[in-house]
Amino acid sequence: MSHPAHIPVRVANVETVTPFVKTFTFEPRNGATLPRFSAGSHVVVTMPGDERPYRNPYSLMSSPFELDYYQVSVRREDEGRGGSLYMHERVSIGDELDISAPTNMFALHPLARRHLLIAGGIGITPFLAQLHELERMQADYQMHYAFRNQDNAAFHDYLQDHYSDHLHCYESDNGVTLNPARLLADQPLGTHLYVCGPKGLLEAVTDTARRLGWPESCIHYEEFAAPPVGKPFTVELAKSGRSLEVAGSATVLETLEQAGLEPNCLCRGGVCGECETVVLEGDIDHNDHFLSDEVKASNERMMICVSRARSERLVLDL
């Protein structure tokens, strides 16, 4: 599983959805076919950057019943490491990219009595695929969508057109905000909660759910950690004796890959746990959502796709 299969695709359409969000439609090329996928899945898109390839995970938002194309939406992050800017400024119709096979870290729970979906801003994208699935299942569901203003409300009109019976919107510039306590306090047993969006919303909702006694197995969230830009450091590989410099805008994983190594990895967003690596020396700056607080505090393991060093060097058991 260390080298996920790549699917060659062509960009069939690029659509500007809001001043910050573009939607990309991918069609298979070279006779490839797109696998079926389950709602909530993401793909990792590989972009041929100038210095190194960018590889970012994006949720599939198109219908799981549509196999002729996939769609993802990308929010432009001007302060990020460059992947979303690459998608916004350099990817156009006809371009050829590679994507990974879909992987699902944010699946609908098949035994839920009710599905309570909460999105903040661009966190709406995995729900767009899930709404297709929920409609087909004729499930009991509610879609709660919080955004700052209409410029940040991607797909608002589409949702109004197709899911108005289930849709609840919160536009904070108009003074309408989502109150997690009020929403979560009054849900029937067997309700499953799904949250995707900015860290503040995600923590507010999941903390509230736990405080109200929701079982952990009913709380689902997805937040791909964008690897932060940090200060450079040295990573030493204990088994091979190699020493590599990790640039401020690169991750440990990318640095190892640039050096010709092929460490295990999958989601590249600190979610799946595949790249967990034993750290022999050094202070870790954890940025993932996979390791428990206990493990993080032990300073012995890290997810090399998103986490960095506080110290000037890290020694990895690789």
């Binding site: 996920p4 389950s38 992987t103 035994l111 197995s217």
Partner: protein, 354 residues
Amino acid sequence: MSAQLQINDPKIKPIETFRDDFTYSNSPEAIRRFPFPFHEDKYMYSVNIEPHNVGPAGSVFAPAFDIDEHYLSEIEERRRVLEEDPGRCAVLPHMMEAQWDTLELLMTSLARDYPQHFKLERNGDRWTWENRLLGIKDTFTFDDASTLPYEPFEYITRQVQGDFTLHGQRNNMLYMDGGMVTCQADWSLQFDLGMDFYEWHGPVPKAHEMGIFERALKYLLNLQVGQPVRRLNWTMTVHPRMDTSPENYHKWGIDRSQVTADNVGELAHLRVELQSLFRLPRSNAIIFSIRCYLISLNELVTVPKWARRFHRVHKSLPPELADYKGFSGYQPYVIDFLSQYDDGAPTSPGTQPD
């Protein structure tokens, strides 16, 4: 190279039996391609998982789902088991999507790997499936179970060798959410149905303490569409009996006391399971294929390397493993029998015959 070139063209035998008169046997070709599981002269548990769908030409590892000379016999045995005990096939209601995933995976794999025997035509949702070995040709509507004579999972697994289990993934856990289990090594689908990964592996000795299941589960939770994996497992069975189920223990348990020094070569069989796991794309479930191969000691010792190695594996096997696998009672006969074929010479690396 096209996949077809690497895959065996099975010469299917007429129906043989896995019960009563036990007419089952392996041809010399089937012996040569038997998945002998020991790569060294001893055995211990490990997370011996590797990518599936790559294997030497003609081997059981080359196709997604191996069809061999015993196809008709095993399909008939499955039909008989189900006739007596329909509960051997059970799927929980929330797994319908996974049922269709299974049908699609098996049909497309068989039609690709064995085009001489299986054919799938897809015209939108109207599919026509042809199984020339069983004389089946059915047209049905994908996603509409009322157009098939059985539910989709049972329909297709009645036509494929080996047991299958279906595992839903939720709560960072895998569950036993369904299966077609008629040729199992002493475990019960009806008992395990609904259990989680740790629960259904509960009886396995040693492996829990070794952390095997934590690592295996973490690995499987990230299993990728299109990247199946496999491992081999093994035990011993008296007679070539496919159905060694707890449900029928009263029929086969006694067999183990009937092994003698004189008949052990004929009665004792090495039972190997080629276990492969596939992520199902629409349901995000996992299908687990447990493909069972049986070889008598008499057949096994026709490969001198295997005879030597199997003797050494038995001699060094921890007693609790022999107990768990259920052959400690007659193991001394097995060891004595195999010792005749072990001259102490070193064995070559790998599992293939010399």
